[in-house]
Amino acid sequence: MGEASPSHPLLELTRARVLEFVREREAVFWVFVFPVLLALALGVAFRVRPVEKLRVGVVGDEGGQVTAALRAAADLEVVLLPDGEAEQQRRAGKLDLTVLCQRGEGGEGGVRLRLDPTRPESRTARLAVREALGGSTPTLVPILAEERVTAPGSRYIDFLVPGLVGLNLMGSGMWGIGFSVVVARTRKLLKRLAATPMRRSHYLLSFALSRLAFLVLEVAAVVGFGWVVFGVGVEGPLAVLALVCLVGALCFAGLGLLVAARPRSIEAVSGWMNLVMLPMWLLSGTFFSYERFPAVTHGAIRALPLTALNDALRAVMNRGVGLTATLPQLAVLGLWGIASFVVAVRIFRWQ
């Protein structure tokens, strides 16, 4: 068990951080369990329709033959809509599939199906529609073509899960670091460490490094849950998702250190934490899109670190973009992170 030579102080400080965190059961709950429960509650609450009924829009069915065939299928809810309206509803996730009727050249008619194959409901609807229209012999209505329109992120849960990942990275970074620093200060542990030859930047860096140790688990808990329970996939490369999470976590580690740099009591640091985080809870598009705020505010909202993180996460998870498309958000996060770390080191109160 004994070690002859001492290991690097940064390693030891980080190890101490990680052990202290893991041994604090409440913190583990708030970081890992709470966001999953939140996703479950919101995901269930905002389910637009029951799972069993698949909503299919029918456009231009003059003879009524298609509508009648579809209505015969038990698990389909059929609505007749003009083309524009149907497309709008499909994009909004209110329709799982659109059936576009065409009068054929030689008297024989047919339909085109328009759907988003990345949505599980749409794939189910496709099967149901195909069966209703052509499953029995003879074929009632020929299916001429299938238009695959990929519009991922159309469900609320698709929008929500990346937001929760971002929110969780912010919360665990800020609270996790802010509280440990201020507790160490009130217990005079910071002063005791300041009396050793420990490099002060090592102490602060150990917080950032210990955050990385939990990052994988933290993100995997929420993303994995969203995938298994609600079928929220990651459309883009996992490596880019990992990079976005990494930069986001480091950014909030820096902000957490900055907020905790001066306060002498838990009450004071809690107040500052809320002051910093509450605006981002509301503005940064975690639970609803910030597009709902007036357009003039969008620039400022996008400059907030949580907005940048949420936007980048949604781009990767929902829209499947690559690294290049997330560079502006990564830059915003990087700037916040570096600036707050540098200021935190300067103004840090050791006793």
């Binding site: 690097h8 400080l13 217990r187």
Partner: protein, 297 residues
């Protein structure tokens, strides 16, 4: 000198601690002991005057070297409760380029059996020995101890004293603050008595006690008042004081003073409720110098 706003915590302090010496700052709470050691530890900056440690001053480019060479135990530092004893000492060991092996240090302070216990589960005395381990793991030349045994039971206090004596026997220098006169008398080669930010006496414990010129201290409580001048004028008595109804006589010759005191009490018809005599201590020196007891604060 060090000021905190309007309050001057320490003023006109002039002292020198020799290598290999154990030097104690003795005084009540608020006397400026902690401020003095923290200036020497480089944790506070003095407003005026200078402090030199191992040939260097703080803030002149040798801070890291100085920190490598000193071991510090602060007043009421609470180490992380969720780490174990071993993890805590290992963490502190990693800060020092040279130092003692972790398990050896834990054995030194007698915590081997508690090696894997969480800090939060330790008793007060064990926590204090762990704090000492965090200082000793650096194998320091100077050990700073700020009230190392405050709040500990007598047995835990003896264990800490044993550790300090062992460190000294290996050639270490100790600067200690305490408000226990037994602690200063037992551990220190020299004692500076502090009150209100000043040193009011500085000498070896034996010389300080001898400066009273008293062979014995007589304390008694009487049913009625006796004029202090009469008591001080009794044969064999050097000085008389009274606090909270207890009269204290510094007695040069107990054989003369005691019969004379009893005769005086009888003459005034005052009954005696209690009477004690003891060898003079640093406590009596402090009372003589300040008119207060150390524990009165």
């Amino acid at each position: 000198m060090k000021r905190f706003g309007e309050v001057t915590a320490v003023a006109h302090l002039d002292l020198e601690v020799q290598r290999g010496e154990c030097f104690a700052l003795l005084g009540p709470n608020g006397a400026g002991k902690t401020t003095t050691v923290e200036i020497l530890e480089g944790l506070q900056r003095q407003d005026a005057g200078s402090a030199e440690l191992l040939g260097h001053r703080w803030g002149e480019g040798h801070d890291l070297e100085l920190r490598q060479r000193i071991g510090v135990q602060l007043q009421d530092t609470q180490l992380g409760e969720r780490l174990t004893v071993f993890e805590t000492v290992r963490l502190f060991r990693s800060f020092y380029a040279r130092g003692r092996e972790v398990n050896e240090t834990i054995a030194l302070v007698g915590l081997t059996e508690k090696r894997h216990a969480r800090v939060g589960k330790l008793s007060g005395g064990q926590k204090q020995r762990l704090a000492l381990a965090c200082a000793l793991v650096a194998q320091p030349e100077i050990l700073f101890l700020d009230e190392p045994t405050t709040g500990l039971d007598p047995q835990a206090r003896l264990q800490i004293w044993g550790l300090v004596e062992r460190f000294r026997s290996e050639g270490g220098t100790v600067l200690l603050t305490t408000h226990y006169m037994e602690e200063a008398a037992r551990l220190a080669d020299r004692v500076a008595i502090m009150d209100h930010g000043r040193i009011i006496a500085l000498d070896t414990p034996a010389h300080l006690v001898a400066s009273l010129g008293a062979e014995q201290i007589v304390e008694f409580e009487a049913a009625g008042p006796l004029p202090l001048e009469r008591l001080a004028a009794l044969p064999g008595v050097r000085a008389a004081t009274r606090r909270n109804g207890t009269s204290t006589l510094e007695v040069a010759a107990i054989g003369e003073a005691l019969p004379a005191l009893l005769a005086e009490l009888q003459r005034f018809g005052v009954g005696i409720q209690s009477l004690r005599t003891h060898q003079p201590t640093l406590e009596d020196v402090f009372i003589r110098l300040t008119g207060r007891a150390l524990r009165d604060g």
